[in-house]
């Protein structure tokens, strides 16, 4: 059975010199959470906007395959695309403070999603909005419907955004750093809510984040992005058990994940920043920051398959450095 969302060879460029996304492939299955993880500037948000057809002015999208529920999205007109958005595929954003229109009530903004896609009365739409607000854990939903965004806290606004995204029972929810702008305690609540909703509604979630802690809690599958490319893709278990791209390992070394790092050991860091990749760039985008790079990294990068469903793009073959890792772990135990 094919995946709900299939993306192959997605490319996005904003001007003629640089490419923000360089051939990204992702597949999101029904009911699973797929995390797209990477540093800021790696192209993960742009990829998600490109999938939704929400690129800012001047953004050009090409793809070898871009299908949702088997339907090709590439040739779809803006009008046809807008029929899908908010209905079968919904999206929430990083900035809950500014993502709601300050001039309209919560109720009006929620109701228009349903009336747009399903028709029906405004009254019925408001009823559904109220019940969804209750579902996302907002007390006194009837009162909230009449309120304006500025009267709500950031956490509440993000709950409203989630409830609004659920108005038409979408099959796919794209969540672009949904908790980054929120307090840590609120973050946890929102993430728990997303997990509950997914279980209940059989929702597929494409979660964009830079936080590996969130990935560890939420993900079924993970795609690691670097400089506009997916460098490694695996199930969450496989990725944390056997990270295979030097960048993934670098990332994991930066984060204290219980059980993988000993108390008192120094956290790692990756020197340098994500480069801007010029058009026509060849080879591995990570090679300037990679301690293991050699001359061959400037050439074509092979895709290695470590196990079924676990692939990474690197010259190093599966199993590289694992002895060294093992020895380090042993040494730390001793």
């Amino acid at each position: 059975m094919s995946a709900l969302l299939e993306v192959e060879g997605l490319r996005v460029r904003f001007n003629s010199r640089a490419e923000a996304v360089r051939g990204v492939s992702i597949a999101v299955n029904k009911g699973e959470t797929h995390c797209l993880v990477g540093e800021s500037g790696c192209g993960k948000s742009v990829s998600s906007l490109a999938i939704m057809g929400l690129l800012a002015k001047g953004g050009q999208r090409t793809a070898d395959r871009l299908a949702f529920g088997g339907q090709d999205l590439r040739g779809l007109s803006e009008r046809a695309m807008s029929r899908l958005r908010g209905d079968r595929m919904a999206m929430i954003f990083q900035e809950p403070m500014t993502s709601l229109n300050p001039a309209y009530t919560i109720g009006s903004q929620m109701a228009e999603v349903l009336t747009r896609h399903r028709g029906g009365s405004r009254r019925a739409a408001l009823d559904r909005a109220a019940s969804l607000l209750g579902r996302v854990g907002i007390t006194a939903p009837g009162m909230r419907l009449a309120q304006y965004p500025h009267q709500l806290s950031g956490g509440l606004r993000q709950r409203v955004m989630i409830a609004m995204a659920l108005m038409c029972d979408p099959e796919l929810l794209i969540a672009d750093e949904p908790t980054t702008a929120l307090d840590v305690t609120v973050q946890a609540q929102i993430l728990r809510l997303l997990m509950e909703l997914q279980r209940e509604l059989g929702l597929a979630i494409l979660l964009i984040t830079h936080d590996l802690g969130i990935v560890a809690r939420m993900a079924d599958r993970v795609s690691v992005m670097y400089a506009g490319e997916v460098v490694e893709s695996a199930t969450a278990g496989a990725l944390f058990a056997a990270p295979s791209h030097p960048y993934t390992r670098g990332l994991l070394a930066c984060v204290p994940i219980p059980g993988t790092i000993a108390r008192g050991a120094a956290l790692g860091s990756i020197p340098g920043t994500v480069p801007r990749i010029a058009l026509g760039f060849q080879g591995c985008g990570f090679r300037d920051r990679c301690a293991l790079a050699d001359a061959s990294c400037a050439g074509a990068v092979p895709v290695q398959r470590r196990a079924a469903g676990h692939e990474y793009a690197c010259r190093l073959e599966p199993g590289w450095g694992e002895r060294a890792l093992g020895e380090r772990a042993l040494g730390e135990q001793a």
Binding site: S82, R85, M91, F93, S99, H150
Partner: protein, 305 residues
């Protein structure tokens, strides 16, 4: 909200009082009124008679107090020229000027809003640049000259519209257009920049993510937020248009308040000048208060505080 309204009204009253003083001072301090009224041929006895007859021999403070008190009770004095109460003169001329101003506003908004929105939607395109060029050109056009040109074209060459006067509705077409056109550049720039900002905002991305139609995105979500500065400036522009009617009514020989003022100025009929200045200022002040209220109504952040 109530405090906001109260403060706004207090400010309006203070401004009105100041303008009242200024318009009085204007006619007293810039020369000897009696000499101006009497005209160049008058002897010094004539001037003395006039001074007594109009009460100009009293101390300035007394004259001022007198004027303020009577102005507050709606008595704006009597015209030297028409020998009629000024209030009645203004009331008789007001419908013409008000019609002209409101039609002008409709014309201005009717041109500025669609073009401004269109330019913002196609920001940076050839159409955007073309529309902004209209604004620059419009700003450079002397209104009275544009009026004369249109009279020649539509009144004389094509014969579609009357050359002057407004006995029928069609007499208002050209003056209203010219008056409105003078307010187009400012309103259009503002509409465009407001819409450009609004269209680039996060809530528009949300609206798109919800799959709303293009019309709903632009006209409902963006325009509502771009409207607030436009409302404020539209009110100000209407005020400017009413005082700009002096020129337009002169060009088209429309007998409104502006024409009355011009006539009174040329014939040294100072009670009328004083009153019209005050009257137009009060209308302007009222319009800005109205715009603030309208904005408070449009912006829930102001309304609910």
């Amino acid at each position: 909200m109530l405090i906001f309204i109260a403060r706004r009204l207090l400010l309006a009253v203070l401004v009105t009082l100041t303008v009242l003083t200024a318009s009085f001072a204007l006619t007293r301090l810039s020369g000897d009124l009696a000499i101006s009224i009497a005209g160049p041929q008058a002897t010094s006895e004539d001037i003395e008679i006039i001074r007594k007859a109009y009460g100009l021999n009293r101390p300035v403070v007394v004259q001022f107090g007198d004027w303020v008190v009577s102005a507050a009770t709606g008595d704006l004095g009597r015209s030297y020229l028409y020998h009629e109460p000024v209030a009645r003169l203004i009331a008789a001329r007001m419908p013409t000027t008000l019609t002209l101003g409101l039609c002008g506003l409709v014309v201005a908004l009717g041109i500025a809003l669609p073009l401004g929105i269109l330019a913002a939607m196609r920001e940076g395109s050839l159409m955007d640049r073309g529309i902004m060029m209209v604004a620059v050109v419009g700003q450079a056009m002397p209104t009275f000259w544009l009026g004369l040109l249109l009279v020649i074209i539509f009144g004389l060459k094509l014969g579609w519209l009357p050359i002057s006067g407004a006995d029928e509705w069609d007499g208002f077409v050209l003056p209203a257009f010219v008056l409105g056109f003078s307010a187009v550049p400012a309103l259009m720039r503002l509409t465009r920049s407001g819409m450009v900002d609004a269209l680039a905002s996060d809530y528009i991305r949300t609206a798109r993510a919800k799959g709303l139609s293009r019309a709903a995105i632009v006209l409902k979500h963006a325009a509502r937020n771009a409207a607030m500065p436009v409302v404020a400036v539209a009110a100000v522009q209407l005020g400017f248009m009413l005082s700009g009617s002096v020129v337009i009514e002169g060009v088209f020989a429309l007998h409104g308040v502006g024409y009355l003022a011009w006539e009174s100025i040329s014939k040294n009929d100072f009670p009328v000048v004083q009153a019209v200045v005050l009257f137009l200022a009060v209308i302007y002040i009222a319009l800005t208060v109205l715009a603030d209220m309208l904005n408070a109504f449009l912006d829930p952040r102001l309304r609910t505080q």
